[in-house]
Chain length 186, copies 2
Protein backbone atom coordinates (compact mmCIF):
# COMPACT_ATOMS: atom_id res chain seq x y z
CA UNK A 1 0.00 0.00 0.00
CA UNK A 2 1.95 2.91 -1.37
CA UNK A 3 0.02 5.65 0.43
CA UNK A 4 0.72 4.11 3.84
CA UNK A 5 4.50 4.24 3.30
CA UNK A 6 4.37 7.74 1.80
CA UNK A 7 2.44 9.07 4.82
CA UNK A 8 5.03 7.60 7.20
CA UNK A 9 7.86 8.95 5.03
CA UNK A 10 6.28 12.44 5.04
CA UNK A 11 6.07 12.35 8.83
CA UNK A 12 9.39 10.67 9.66
CA UNK A 13 11.46 12.45 7.00
CA UNK A 14 9.88 15.89 7.13
CA UNK A 15 7.07 16.95 9.47
CA UNK A 16 8.74 15.49 12.57
CA UNK A 17 11.92 17.45 11.68
CA UNK A 18 10.44 20.80 10.69
CA UNK A 19 7.31 21.35 12.78
CA UNK A 20 9.10 21.71 16.13
CA UNK A 21 11.04 24.75 14.82
CA UNK A 22 8.22 26.31 12.78
CA UNK A 23 7.17 28.75 15.50
CA UNK A 24 10.75 30.05 15.87
CA UNK A 25 11.10 30.42 12.10
CA UNK A 26 7.92 32.50 11.94
CA UNK A 27 9.11 34.68 14.78
CA UNK A 28 12.47 35.27 13.08
CA UNK A 29 10.54 36.05 9.88
CA UNK A 30 8.31 38.61 11.63
CA UNK A 31 11.42 40.27 13.11
CA UNK A 32 12.91 40.81 9.64
CA UNK A 33 9.57 41.79 8.03
CA UNK A 34 8.39 44.18 10.76
CA UNK A 35 7.52 46.95 8.29
CA UNK A 36 4.77 44.96 6.61
CA UNK A 37 3.58 43.33 9.86
CA UNK A 38 2.74 39.83 8.57
CA UNK A 39 0.89 37.19 10.63
CA UNK A 40 -1.24 39.69 12.52
CA UNK A 41 -4.96 39.10 12.66
CA UNK A 42 -6.32 35.93 11.13
CA UNK A 43 -2.99 34.68 9.77
CA UNK A 44 -2.07 31.21 11.02
CA UNK A 45 1.17 30.12 12.66
CA UNK A 46 0.59 26.48 11.79
CA UNK A 47 1.82 24.71 8.67
CA UNK A 48 -1.19 24.35 6.37
CA UNK A 49 -0.84 21.12 4.38
CA UNK A 50 -3.02 20.88 1.28
CA UNK A 51 -4.23 17.41 0.26
CA UNK A 52 -6.16 17.60 -3.05
CA UNK A 53 -8.23 14.45 -3.67
CA UNK A 54 -7.27 14.40 -7.35
CA UNK A 55 -3.55 14.63 -6.42
CA UNK A 56 -3.35 17.47 -8.95
CA UNK A 57 -0.64 19.71 -7.53
CA UNK A 58 0.68 23.11 -8.62
CA UNK A 59 4.20 24.20 -7.94
CA UNK A 60 3.07 27.80 -7.33
CA UNK A 61 -0.13 28.43 -5.38
CA UNK A 62 -0.76 31.75 -7.11
CA UNK A 63 -1.21 29.82 -10.38
CA UNK A 64 -4.31 28.23 -8.81
CA UNK A 65 -6.01 31.35 -7.48
CA UNK A 66 -5.22 35.01 -8.06
CA UNK A 67 -6.33 35.89 -4.53
CA UNK A 68 -3.18 34.11 -3.35
CA UNK A 69 0.21 35.78 -3.62
CA UNK A 70 3.66 34.53 -2.75
CA UNK A 71 4.94 36.68 0.09
CA UNK A 72 8.44 35.38 0.93
CA UNK A 73 10.19 32.29 2.27
CA UNK A 74 10.75 31.56 5.93
CA UNK A 75 14.46 31.43 6.91
CA UNK A 76 16.27 28.27 5.80
CA UNK A 77 16.64 25.43 8.26
CA UNK A 78 19.80 23.34 7.64
CA UNK A 79 20.06 19.74 8.86
CA UNK A 80 22.74 17.09 8.13
CA UNK A 81 20.80 14.17 6.63
CA UNK A 82 22.09 10.81 5.31
CA UNK A 83 25.38 12.21 4.03
CA UNK A 84 24.06 15.51 2.69
CA UNK A 85 25.71 18.31 4.66
CA UNK A 86 23.33 21.09 5.63
CA UNK A 87 20.33 19.88 3.65
CA UNK A 88 17.92 22.82 3.40
CA UNK A 89 14.33 22.70 4.67
CA UNK A 90 12.22 25.80 4.07
CA UNK A 91 8.58 26.85 3.76
CA UNK A 92 6.90 29.55 1.72
CA UNK A 93 4.66 32.24 3.19
CA UNK A 94 1.62 33.24 1.13
CA UNK A 95 -0.72 36.19 1.45
CA UNK A 96 -4.36 35.12 0.98
CA UNK A 97 -6.99 37.75 0.20
CA UNK A 98 -10.57 37.43 1.47
CA UNK A 99 -13.78 38.81 -0.13
CA UNK A 100 -13.25 42.14 1.65
CA UNK A 101 -9.82 42.54 0.11
CA UNK A 102 -8.05 41.93 3.42
CA UNK A 103 -4.80 39.92 3.32
CA UNK A 104 -3.95 37.07 5.68
CA UNK A 105 -0.50 35.50 5.81
CA UNK A 106 0.03 31.79 6.25
CA UNK A 107 2.64 29.11 5.74
CA UNK A 108 1.10 26.72 3.24
CA UNK A 109 2.22 24.00 0.85
CA UNK A 110 0.89 20.89 -0.85
CA UNK A 111 1.64 17.45 0.61
CA UNK A 112 4.56 16.67 -1.72
CA UNK A 113 4.15 12.85 -1.63
CA UNK A 114 0.95 13.34 -3.66
CA UNK A 115 3.21 14.24 -6.60
CA UNK A 116 4.63 10.72 -6.32
CA UNK A 117 1.11 9.21 -6.22
CA UNK A 118 0.15 11.24 -9.29
CA UNK A 119 3.27 10.33 -11.27
CA UNK A 120 3.07 6.65 -10.29
CA UNK A 121 -0.50 6.52 -11.63
CA UNK A 122 0.87 7.73 -14.97
CA UNK A 123 3.72 5.19 -15.17
CA UNK A 124 2.46 1.78 -16.31
CA UNK A 125 5.34 -0.06 -14.64
CA UNK A 126 4.65 1.48 -11.22
CA UNK A 127 1.70 -0.79 -10.51
CA UNK A 128 -1.40 1.36 -10.08
CA UNK A 129 -3.55 3.58 -12.24
CA UNK A 130 -5.90 6.57 -12.04
CA UNK A 131 -8.88 4.69 -10.56
CA UNK A 132 -6.84 3.58 -7.53
CA UNK A 133 -5.24 6.98 -7.10
CA UNK A 134 -8.17 8.63 -5.32
CA UNK A 135 -8.29 5.70 -2.91
CA UNK A 136 -4.58 6.10 -2.25
CA UNK A 137 -4.97 9.86 -1.57
CA UNK A 138 -7.68 9.12 1.00
CA UNK A 139 -5.52 6.41 2.59
CA UNK A 140 -2.59 8.88 2.68
CA UNK A 141 -4.80 11.51 4.35
CA UNK A 142 -6.21 9.15 6.97
CA UNK A 143 -2.86 7.53 7.76
CA UNK A 144 -1.18 10.93 8.08
CA UNK A 145 -4.01 12.27 10.26
CA UNK A 146 -3.65 9.26 12.56
CA UNK A 147 0.15 9.59 12.79
CA UNK A 148 0.05 13.35 13.44
CA UNK A 149 -2.64 13.11 16.13
CA UNK A 150 -0.35 10.83 18.14
CA UNK A 151 2.78 12.88 17.56
CA UNK A 152 4.11 15.07 20.35
CA UNK A 153 6.51 16.88 18.02
CA UNK A 154 3.72 17.88 15.67
CA UNK A 155 0.69 18.50 17.87
CA UNK A 156 -1.03 21.86 17.24
CA UNK A 157 1.58 22.87 14.71
CA UNK A 158 -0.18 21.84 11.51
CA UNK A 159 -3.54 21.76 9.78
CA UNK A 160 -4.39 19.10 7.18
CA UNK A 161 -6.70 20.52 4.50
CA UNK A 162 -8.41 17.91 2.34
CA UNK A 163 -9.45 19.57 -0.94
CA UNK A 164 -12.43 18.16 -2.79
CA UNK A 165 -11.77 18.87 -6.45
CA UNK A 166 -15.49 19.03 -7.30
CA UNK A 167 -15.35 22.83 -7.04
CA UNK A 168 -12.42 23.26 -9.37
CA UNK A 169 -14.27 25.72 -11.68
CA UNK A 170 -14.42 28.34 -8.91
CA UNK A 171 -11.34 30.53 -9.53
CA UNK A 172 -11.19 31.33 -5.80
CA UNK A 173 -11.79 27.80 -4.54
CA UNK A 174 -8.33 27.47 -3.02
CA UNK A 175 -8.21 30.84 -1.19
CA UNK A 176 -11.70 30.23 0.22
CA UNK A 177 -10.70 26.75 1.43
CA UNK A 178 -7.61 28.15 3.15
CA UNK A 179 -9.54 31.07 4.70
CA UNK A 180 -12.20 28.71 6.07
CA UNK A 181 -9.47 26.83 7.88
CA UNK A 182 -7.80 30.00 9.17
CA UNK A 183 -11.15 31.14 10.61
CA UNK A 184 -11.64 27.85 12.46
CA UNK A 185 -8.69 28.53 14.69
CA UNK A 186 -9.98 31.63 16.43
CA UNK B 1 4.81 -3.02 0.09
CA UNK B 2 6.45 0.05 1.55
CA UNK B 3 9.81 -0.39 -0.20
CA UNK B 4 8.17 -0.41 -3.64
CA UNK B 5 6.54 2.99 -3.07
CA UNK B 6 9.66 4.46 -1.49
CA UNK B 7 11.79 3.41 -4.48
CA UNK B 8 9.32 5.07 -6.89
CA UNK B 9 9.19 8.16 -4.68
CA UNK B 10 12.99 8.37 -4.56
CA UNK B 11 13.08 8.25 -8.37
CA UNK B 12 10.07 10.45 -9.21
CA UNK B 13 10.64 13.04 -6.46
CA UNK B 14 14.41 13.22 -6.42
CA UNK B 15 16.74 11.29 -8.78
CA UNK B 16 14.70 12.18 -11.90
CA UNK B 17 14.96 15.88 -10.91
CA UNK B 18 18.60 16.09 -9.85
CA UNK B 19 20.57 13.61 -11.96
CA UNK B 20 20.13 15.44 -15.29
CA UNK B 21 21.90 18.54 -13.89
CA UNK B 22 24.56 16.71 -11.86
CA UNK B 23 27.23 16.97 -14.55
CA UNK B 24 26.74 20.76 -14.82
CA UNK B 25 26.87 21.14 -11.03
CA UNK B 26 30.17 19.27 -10.89
CA UNK B 27 31.59 21.41 -13.68
CA UNK B 28 30.55 24.62 -11.89
CA UNK B 29 32.08 23.18 -8.72
CA UNK B 30 35.41 22.43 -10.45
CA UNK B 31 35.47 25.97 -11.84
CA UNK B 32 35.21 27.46 -8.33
CA UNK B 33 37.61 24.91 -6.76
CA UNK B 34 40.29 25.04 -9.45
CA UNK B 35 43.14 25.47 -6.95
CA UNK B 36 42.61 22.06 -5.35
CA UNK B 37 41.76 20.33 -8.65
CA UNK B 38 39.02 17.95 -7.46
CA UNK B 39 37.54 15.13 -9.59
CA UNK B 40 40.77 14.43 -11.49
CA UNK B 41 41.96 10.85 -11.71
CA UNK B 42 39.75 8.18 -10.26
CA UNK B 43 37.08 10.53 -8.87
CA UNK B 44 33.61 9.77 -10.19
CA UNK B 45 31.18 12.19 -11.79
CA UNK B 46 28.20 9.98 -11.01
CA UNK B 47 26.03 10.17 -7.90
CA UNK B 48 27.06 7.29 -5.65
CA UNK B 49 24.00 6.08 -3.75
CA UNK B 50 24.76 3.96 -0.68
CA UNK B 51 22.21 1.27 0.24
CA UNK B 52 23.22 -0.42 3.52
CA UNK B 53 21.36 -3.72 4.04
CA UNK B 54 20.81 -2.96 7.72
CA UNK B 55 19.32 0.47 6.85
CA UNK B 56 21.73 1.89 9.43
CA UNK B 57 22.48 5.36 8.12
CA UNK B 58 24.89 8.04 9.31
CA UNK B 59 24.26 11.70 8.70
CA UNK B 60 27.98 12.34 8.16
CA UNK B 61 30.04 9.82 6.19
CA UNK B 62 33.26 10.76 8.01
CA UNK B 63 31.70 9.39 11.22
CA UNK B 64 31.71 5.95 9.56
CA UNK B 65 35.30 5.90 8.26
CA UNK B 66 38.18 8.28 8.93
CA UNK B 67 39.52 7.75 5.41
CA UNK B 68 36.52 9.78 4.24
CA UNK B 69 36.47 13.55 4.59
CA UNK B 70 33.79 16.07 3.75
CA UNK B 71 35.16 18.25 0.96
CA UNK B 72 32.40 20.78 0.16
CA UNK B 73 28.84 20.95 -1.18
CA UNK B 74 27.97 21.19 -4.86
CA UNK B 75 26.16 24.44 -5.80
CA UNK B 76 22.51 24.55 -4.70
CA UNK B 77 19.85 23.61 -7.22
CA UNK B 78 16.56 25.47 -6.61
CA UNK B 79 13.25 24.10 -7.93
CA UNK B 80 9.68 25.25 -7.24
CA UNK B 81 7.93 22.17 -5.82
CA UNK B 82 4.35 21.80 -4.61
CA UNK B 83 4.09 25.34 -3.23
CA UNK B 84 7.60 25.60 -1.79
CA UNK B 85 9.36 28.37 -3.70
CA UNK B 86 12.92 27.52 -4.62
CA UNK B 87 13.16 24.24 -2.71
CA UNK B 88 16.87 23.48 -2.41
CA UNK B 89 18.40 20.25 -3.72
CA UNK B 90 22.11 19.78 -3.09
CA UNK B 91 24.75 17.05 -2.82
CA UNK B 92 27.92 16.76 -0.76
CA UNK B 93 31.35 16.04 -2.20
CA UNK B 94 33.59 13.75 -0.17
CA UNK B 95 37.29 13.03 -0.47
CA UNK B 96 38.02 9.29 -0.09
CA UNK B 97 41.54 8.14 0.72
CA UNK B 98 42.90 4.83 -0.63
CA UNK B 99 45.56 2.57 0.96
CA UNK B 100 48.32 4.61 -0.74
CA UNK B 101 47.07 7.82 0.88
CA UNK B 102 45.76 9.19 -2.44
CA UNK B 103 42.49 11.16 -2.31
CA UNK B 104 39.60 10.66 -4.73
CA UNK B 105 36.63 13.03 -4.85
CA UNK B 106 33.12 11.79 -5.35
CA UNK B 107 29.52 12.86 -4.85
CA UNK B 108 28.08 10.34 -2.45
CA UNK B 109 25.11 10.03 -0.10
CA UNK B 110 22.92 7.40 1.51
CA UNK B 111 19.56 6.52 -0.04
CA UNK B 112 17.41 8.73 2.17
CA UNK B 113 14.27 6.55 2.09
CA UNK B 114 16.17 3.94 4.10
CA UNK B 115 15.89 6.33 7.06
CA UNK B 116 12.13 5.97 6.72
CA UNK B 117 12.39 2.16 6.56
CA UNK B 118 14.58 2.16 9.65
CA UNK B 119 12.33 4.50 11.65
CA UNK B 120 9.17 2.65 10.58
CA UNK B 121 10.66 -0.60 11.88
CA UNK B 122 11.06 1.11 15.26
CA UNK B 123 7.50 2.45 15.44
CA UNK B 124 5.06 -0.27 16.48
CA UNK B 125 2.13 1.49 14.81
CA UNK B 126 3.85 1.65 11.42
CA UNK B 127 3.19 -2.00 10.60
CA UNK B 128 6.53 -3.79 10.22
CA UNK B 129 9.45 -4.70 12.41
CA UNK B 130 13.18 -5.42 12.23
CA UNK B 131 12.89 -8.91 10.69
CA UNK B 132 11.01 -7.55 7.65
CA UNK B 133 13.30 -4.55 7.31
CA UNK B 134 16.16 -6.36 5.55
CA UNK B 135 13.64 -7.79 3.05
CA UNK B 136 12.30 -4.30 2.45
CA UNK B 137 15.81 -2.90 1.86
CA UNK B 138 16.45 -5.61 -0.76
CA UNK B 139 13.08 -4.90 -2.39
CA UNK B 140 13.92 -1.17 -2.38
CA UNK B 141 17.31 -1.87 -4.02
CA UNK B 142 15.89 -4.17 -6.73
CA UNK B 143 12.94 -1.92 -7.52
CA UNK B 144 15.18 1.15 -7.72
CA UNK B 145 17.71 -0.68 -9.90
CA UNK B 146 14.90 -1.69 -12.27
CA UNK B 147 13.45 1.81 -12.45
CA UNK B 148 16.83 3.51 -12.99
CA UNK B 149 17.92 1.08 -15.72
CA UNK B 150 14.87 2.11 -17.77
CA UNK B 151 15.24 5.81 -17.08
CA UNK B 152 16.58 8.09 -19.80
CA UNK B 153 17.07 10.99 -17.40
CA UNK B 154 19.19 8.91 -15.03
CA UNK B 155 21.17 6.57 -17.28
CA UNK B 156 24.93 6.57 -16.61
CA UNK B 157 24.58 9.29 -14.00
CA UNK B 158 24.43 7.17 -10.85
CA UNK B 159 25.88 4.10 -9.17
CA UNK B 160 23.88 2.07 -6.62
CA UNK B 161 26.16 0.61 -3.96
CA UNK B 162 24.62 -2.17 -1.88
CA UNK B 163 26.52 -2.41 1.42
CA UNK B 164 26.59 -5.73 3.20
CA UNK B 165 26.84 -4.90 6.89
CA UNK B 166 28.69 -8.15 7.67
CA UNK B 167 32.01 -6.26 7.47
CA UNK B 168 31.03 -3.53 9.86
CA UNK B 169 34.00 -4.09 12.18
CA UNK B 170 36.46 -2.98 9.48
CA UNK B 171 37.00 0.74 10.21
CA UNK B 172 37.66 1.34 6.49
CA UNK B 173 34.81 -0.80 5.16
CA UNK B 174 32.98 2.17 3.67
CA UNK B 175 35.93 3.86 1.92
CA UNK B 176 37.02 0.51 0.44
CA UNK B 177 33.48 -0.18 -0.83
CA UNK B 178 33.35 3.25 -2.46
CA UNK B 179 36.84 2.92 -3.98
CA UNK B 180 35.98 -0.49 -5.45
CA UNK B 181 33.07 1.13 -7.26
CA UNK B 182 35.16 4.08 -8.45
CA UNK B 183 37.73 1.65 -9.89
CA UNK B 184 35.03 -0.21 -11.84
CA UNK B 185 34.36 2.82 -13.99
CA UNK B 186 37.72 3.12 -15.71
N1 LIG C 1 19.06 13.12 -0.30
C1 LIG C 1 17.92 13.77 -0.60
N2 LIG C 1 17.99 15.12 -0.76
C2 LIG C 1 16.88 15.84 -1.07
O1 LIG C 1 16.96 17.06 -1.20
C3 LIG C 1 15.63 15.14 -1.23
N3 LIG C 1 14.36 15.55 -1.52
C4 LIG C 1 13.62 14.44 -1.53
N4 LIG C 1 14.36 13.35 -1.25
C5 LIG C 1 13.89 11.99 -1.17
O2 LIG C 1 13.24 11.69 -2.41
C6 LIG C 1 11.96 11.06 -2.18
C7 LIG C 1 10.86 11.92 -2.73
O3 LIG C 1 10.81 13.15 -2.10
P1 LIG C 1 9.45 13.96 -1.86
O4 LIG C 1 9.79 15.39 -1.94
O5 LIG C 1 8.39 13.50 -2.83
O6 LIG C 1 8.96 13.49 -0.41
C8 LIG C 1 9.46 14.14 0.71
C9 LIG C 1 8.65 15.38 0.94
O7 LIG C 1 7.26 15.14 0.84
C10 LIG C 1 8.99 15.72 2.34
N5 LIG C 1 10.18 16.56 2.34
C11 LIG C 1 11.43 16.20 2.62
N6 LIG C 1 12.26 17.25 2.53
C12 LIG C 1 11.48 18.31 2.16
C13 LIG C 1 11.73 19.68 1.89
N7 LIG C 1 12.95 20.23 1.98
N8 LIG C 1 10.69 20.47 1.55
C14 LIG C 1 9.45 19.97 1.45
N9 LIG C 1 9.14 18.68 1.67
C15 LIG C 1 10.15 17.86 2.03
O8 LIG C 1 9.25 14.49 3.01
C16 LIG C 1 9.23 13.41 2.05
C17 LIG C 1 10.31 12.41 2.41
O9 LIG C 1 11.58 13.00 2.34
P2 LIG C 1 12.95 12.16 2.48
O10 LIG C 1 12.82 11.09 3.48
O11 LIG C 1 14.02 13.14 2.73
O12 LIG C 1 13.25 11.44 1.10
C18 LIG C 1 12.78 11.89 -0.11
C19 LIG C 1 11.83 10.86 -0.69
O13 LIG C 1 12.26 9.56 -0.39
C20 LIG C 1 15.62 13.75 -1.05
N10 LIG C 1 16.75 13.05 -0.72
Amino acid sequence: NVAHGLAWSFYLGYLRLVLPCLQDSIEAFCATHWASRPFRGRGSRKLLILVPLNANISHKLEDEDHNIRFYDNLPNNEINRAGVRGRVYKHSVYSVMDENGKAHECVVEYATPLLTLYSMSQESSAGFGEPERRQQVLLFYRTLQEILEHSLECRNRYKLILLNDKHDEDPHFLSKAILRHLEQQQ
